[in-house]
């Protein structure tokens, strides 16, 4: 009999991470496109770092941040009398950090694909930057954003290295699907591990397949509309 808790927790963690990833990814991509500043190349490299660093290294850095003696860990312990480390919140944080570069890169590419003339036209028609963003930039960048969301969800769902460093492997509390697979395989319970592998594969495959079909249909509509 398989435990459903790791599956439910993984989906919850991935969805919660997705909310943070979406907000941060869109905000950072927009800021990097809109404003010029000296340290832009530095931020660009920082935003891409979790994509190229081994997840265990990312996890270690997060451990330094949210551990008992880490600045964030200390603030939570001192002012809120709680901790993030070895809780599902740490898994959400790990998922957010590792999935962020995918959302950021997809959103940045999507924003760069929006012709500035449409935004300028909106400005000359009296629209505030906020209105330009919501009524022109976002609708035109939407396909790239959706791609970023799907990839980020899949990445957060499959996160292992950083999660084990900061959330640990507490069954029923912080054990996500990839951790459950690893520990089931390690204890030679290949049946359970295989079942979990099938479940996570089906979820991620469905998400990516849906994205491909959606993008293909959208391109067809756009070609018909003469947008390309």
């Amino acid at each position: 009999m398989i435990e459903w808790q790791p599956i439910i927790l993984s989906v919850k963690v991935a969805l919660m991470s997705l909310i943070f990833v979406a907000i941060l990814g869109i905000a950072c991509a927009y800021a990097m496109r809109r404003w010029e500043f000296g340290a832009k190349a530095l931020f660009e490299a920082l935003f891409t770092l979790p994509l190229v660093l081994p997840p265990v290294v990312t996890g270690f850095l997060l451990l330094l941040l949210i551990g008992k003696r880490g600045p964030l860990g200390w603030i939570f312990s001192e002012y809120f009398h709680t901790k993030i480390i070895f809780t599902p919140y740490a898994a959400i944080l790990a998922g957010t950090v590792v999935a962020f570069p995918l959302m950021y890169q997809s959103t940045k590419a999507a924003f760069q694909g929006v012709d500035c003339q449409f935004e300028d036209a909106a400005r000359t028609l009296g629209a505030s930057e906020w209105r330009v963003f919501w009524t022109v930039t976002m609708p035109l960048a939407w396909p790239g954003l959706v791609a970023g969301l799907v990839l980020s969800f899949a990445r957060a769902l499959g996160e292992f290295g950083a999660t084990i460093m900061v959330a640990g492997n507490i069954p029923g509390k912080t054990q996500t699907l990839p951790l459950a697979i690893y520990f089931a395989a390690e204890s030679n319970d290949l049946g359970t591990a295989g079942l979990y592998v099938v479940i996570i594969s089906v979820i991620t495959f469905t998400a990516v397949y849906w994205l491909n079909v959606w993008t293909k249909n959208r391109v067809k509509v756009s070609v018909y509309r003469g947008m390309f």
Binding site: Q117, R123, G126
Partner: protein, 227 residues
């Protein structure tokens, strides 16, 4: 009266222009890359000049010395882009109404009048991709004018159209200017268009106003020979 006195350093030359325009059509005429579009963008507030002033009556849109820069949304200057920049994800109606903050009775009357004058009533629910070049031009003009701008800037508005449509729309633009009684600033590199449209023509070469030289006459002759 719009007064423009701006300096802007561009990669290849320095744009330095000084002109005024009352309620008439001013044509900025010059070869591609001479700074015409940059001038329009400076007036609209989409590009910031390096120095100078842009005023409309008593209203200051830009003053380098006083560090005043009014954002494009607060200038109330209509801008028709070269390829119209109609929002592809909205239909014609939503494009036209985009710049209207409150649909008052007066605005609704103005909409009916514009739609009738520009003959675009039957296009209201169409998607942008379903429009011809001439229809797009008319919709873009309606979108710019319904927001009741103080000035209308037109960046090569007829360049993408065929000859017949161009001739038809030239007279429509002149008619719209006569009705709206606001300054129109039109950018073109076509001497014939400048002659037929402009109440005033400003010749620009490499960012500077120049007298109508023999070169322009040569250009026209050359074009006629080619044609």
């Amino acid at each position: 009266m719009l007064t423009v006195d701006i300096i802007k350093t561009l990669p290849d030359f320095r744009l330095q222009l000084n002109f005024t325009v009352a309620n008439s059509i001013l044509v900025l005429l010059g070869p591609s890359g001479c700074g015409k579009t940059t001038t329009l963008r400076c007036i609209a507030g989409l590009t910031c000049p390096d120095d100078g002033t842009i005023t409309f009556g008593k209203e200051i849109f830009y003053s380098g010395s006083n560090q005043i820069f009014v954002a494009p949304k607060d200038r109330n200057i209509g801008y028709m882009f070269q390829d119209y920049a109609l929002f592809p994800h909205m239909n014609v109606n939503n494009n036209i109404w985009y710049g209207v903050k409150q649909k008052t009775v007066e605005i609704k009357q103005s909409y009916d009048k514009l739609v009738e004058l520009l003959k675009i009533g039957h296009l209201a629910n169409r998607a942008i991709h379903q429009l011809s070049g001439g229809e797009k031009q008319r919709v873009a003009l309606a979108r710019a004018l319904i927001a009741q701008p103080k000035i209308l800037l037109l960046d090569e508005p007829l360049s993408a159209l065929d000859c017949d449509t161009r001739l038809e729309l030239r007279s429509e633009l002149k008619k719209m200017q006569a009705i709206s009684k606001i300054p129109f600033i039109l950018v073109t590199h076509d001497l014939e268009e400048a002659r037929s449209m402009g109440d005033q023509v400003l010749f620009i070469e490499r960012g500077l106003q120049v007298p109508p030289s023999a070169r322009w006459k040569e250009c026209l002759c050359g074009r006629e020979k080619l044609g």
